[in-house]
């Protein structure tokens, strides 16, 4: 009898494990295809052979510039920003046990974005200063909304409401900064208010790439505890997970990642919001969906950027496409949550 139930559970676990591997590898393959498309497609489509030769450092008239200076940085920015947004968004959603509580809605990305704009247009600084400032601004925004929403009793609803207000304020700051800097042009505004991969440059990328390589493993490993945290504070403590420390580490790592991603691409709308739920749907309940969520983020950003570049007569920045895809899902989610009385 006992044996039977054990085999039953083991079988279920194996099955979910298989599903996880299947989903993850599918997402990885899809990302590779999209990456390839990012390198291949453009105003001129070069032969694959030339692209590979250009990537390996050979100088080929035209190809080298298009691939190495324009398409490759764009692709890398998309990959790492997408991964950071997807992973960090999922962390927030799981930790706060509410899909609406993601860095986008809470205004954290807007905080980083405002800091990046301030550094670029007012201080005219570059590189590390921008990265530092946006991380600090991201953390400051988190602390600010947390302190403001603590009040007499903490509630997610209050947190989200305050996040929306903080976001409105920071957006006003961004508009103001863009205006006084006389850079009130549409591309700049679109980049810093909704996110774009246009004009990504190789030398801007290292902080983001390094931070993803450092923090993503931490987050994925600690994420195991996250599924225990999801059971609630008391159960987590009794199962031996130090809730405060884990939470602190997770928040710090995720904020560092999204802040750096935001300082390179702008706050790409809704990626951090969509990735977690999509990954959860694909992987199923009971397994960590953090890594898949990151991959979903990559796929979303790359696919949206390709759609934005080539599906229409004009080129749309990636944030507009993800905004149009993401907002109806947000509305659907609201309707579902309202029906169930979860809000």
């Amino acid at each position: 009898m006992k044996n039977e139930s054990v085999t039953f559970i083991m079988a279920g676990r194996r099955q979910r494990n298989r599903r996880w591997i299947l989903v993850t590898s599918f997402l990885a393959v899809l990302s590779c295809i999209l990456c390839f498309a990012m390198l291949l497609l453009g105003n001129t489509i070069y032969p694959v052979k030339d692209i590979i030769r250009a990537l390996s450092g050979e100088q080929i008239q035209g190809v080298s510039f298009a691939v190495n200076t324009i398409r490759l940085p764009r692709m890398l920015a998309g990959i790492f920003a997408g991964f950071a947004f997807g992973l960090a968004g999922d962390i927030f959603q799981t930790m706060l046990r509410n899909p609406l509580a993601n860095p986008n809605v809470l205004g954290i990305t807007t905080g980083s974005s405002a800091a990046a704009v301030f550094c670029i247009v007012i201080l005219q600084s570059s590189g590390t200063v921008i990265s530092f400032a946006s991380v600090i601004a991201g953390l400051a925004t988190v602390i600010l909304i947390y302190i403001l929403s603590r009040g007499k009793s903490f509630s997610i609803g209050r947190l989200i409401l305050i996040g929306i207000a903080v976001q409105a304020m920071l957006n006003a700051v961004i508009s103001y900064l863009l205006l006084v800097s006389a850079e009130q042009n549409i591309p700049a505004a679109l980049r810093w208010l909704s996110g774009s991969l246009n004009g990504s440059q190789m030398h801007e990328l290292p902080p983001l790439i390094i931070s993803v390589f450092i923090f993503a493993p931490i987050v994925v490993v600690l994420g195991k505890h996250l599924s225990i945290l999801e059971l609630g504070e008391q159960s987590a403590t009794s199962l031996g997970v130090s809730t405060d420390k884990t939470r602190m580490m997770l928040i710090l790592s995720s904020v560092c990642m999204i802040s750096l991603a935001t300082s390179t691409t702008g706050p790409i709308a809704f990626v951090s919001f969509l990735s977690g739920p999509i990954a959860k749907r694909l992987v199923g309940v009971g397994f960590s969906n953090l890594f898949p969520a990151g991959l979903v983020g990559v796929n979303l950003v790359l696919a949206a950027d390709l759609i934005g570049q080539f599906a229409f007569v004009v080129r749309y920045p990636v944030g507009i496409i993800t905004g149009i895809i993401g907002a109806p899902y947000l509305i659907y989610l609201l309707i579902r949550m309202n029906r169930k009385g979860e809000l």
Partner: protein, 348 residues
């Protein structure tokens, strides 16, 4: 100004009760209003002297450079006052209808709905006059308001603040992506409506004001007429019905008034946020909850807030100017935070 006179007469007829500071508040508001008008004529990226203001206002014959600047600023000032009044009253009505302290045309996404319709009209129907914008904006505002309220009030607990705000934020995000997507490929639409993303009163013309005025008057009349019944509605649907108020029709009429006001304002100025929230709460704080006083006074405070924001925008953005929508968002959002902090968890 007209409206407050009407309401004062009504108040005397209907009720012996007048809030304690009402007269003082009224006087101070009017003084502030006059100061605002004066400041709005004088201040800007180029300051003008008192003589020039007098020349510009009263001596049409004098054609100095500064007098012409003042004349340009007159229409802008009038429009910012009208627009602020409309947004203030609209916010007060929305708060009463949804029985929700954080309702405001911008927070509920209604302004963005109006913008989307206008941008569509310009892009696809080649519409280009204020007369036509206004109807599109009204349609957009009405549809969005119904949609947001529909989503926000689903489920057992009804329309709680958090549900309404989230529905508004979601729909606003969706619609503003669409607005940008429609604008990007059409440079003429973009040039025409760049200020739309944030809202501006700088391009006001007398024609626009003339188109706007009837909507303002009708909207404010509706607000003043429904105010006593809305007072009952605040106590709850059951109590209101018991007091002889037909809640369904009242809600519809008051919501119509709110949409009329914010739709028309958005049609001409673009989405300007938080004015309704600010003006109503300031007045409620001073005068108490009686809507018969709060509604007309939010018209005045809305006008003051918007024209002050416009003036600050001109000074902060000099030599260009900062759109008034940016300024109102910056000063209005903290109020939203304070309100969110004060709400009880059960009320969220």
């Amino acid at each position: 100004m007209n409206s407050s006179v009407v309401s004062k007469v009504k108040i005397k007829q209907l009720s012996p009760y007048i809030p304690k500071h009402f007269v003082i508040v009224l006087v101070i508001s009017f003084v502030l209003l006059i100061v605002c008008v004066f400041a709005s004529l004088v201040l800007g990226s180029r300051m003008v002297g008192l003589n020039a203001v007098l020349d510009g206002l009263f001596h049409q014959g004098i054609d100095s450079y500064e007098a012409n600047i003042v004349r340009k600023r007159i229409s802008r000032t009038v429009f910012s006052l009208f627009c602020g009044a409309a947004l203030g009253v609209s916010g007060a009505l929305m708060q009463a209808v949804t029985r929700n302290p954080i309702a405001d045309p911008s927070i509920l996404g209604v302004n963005t709905g109006a913008s989307l319709f206008v941008v569509c009209g310009i892009a696809f129907l080649n519409i280009s006059s204020a007369n036509q914008y206004i109807w599109l904006a009204l349609a957009g505002a009405a549809i969005t308001a119904a949609f947001v309220f529909g989503i926000g009030s689903m489920g057992r607990s009804g329309a709680t603040p958090i549900k309404l705000v989230l529905a508004g934020a979601a729909i606003s995000a969706a619609l503003s992506s669409l607005v940008i997507a429609i604008m990007i490929p059409r440079s003429h639409v973009m040039d025409q409506f760049r200020f739309w993303q944030v809202g501006s009163v700088g391009s006001a013309t007398w024609d626009g004001i003339a188109t706007f005025s009837p909507f303002l008057i009708i909207g404010i009349l509706i607000a003043i007429i429904t105010a006593p019944a809305l007072n009952a509605l605040v106590l709850g649907d059951d109590v209101a019905t018991g007091l002889g108020v037909r809640t369904g029709i009242l809600r519809l009429v008051a919501a119509f008034g709110a949409v009329l006001l914010c739709g028309a304002a958005t049609a001409l100025a673009g989405p300007i946020g938080f004015v309704g929230l600010l003006s109503t709460h300031v007045m409620r704080l001073i005068l108490g909850p009686d809507l018969r006083f709060v509604i007309p006074m939010s018209a005045i405070s809305g006008a003051i807030i918007l024209s002050l924001s416009d003036i600050s925008g001109r000074l902060l953005g000099s030599p260009g100017e900062l759109e008034v929508g940016v300024v109102t968002a910056f000063i209005g959002a903290p109020l939203l935070i304070i309100l969110a902090m004060r709400l009880k968890v059960s009320a969220l």
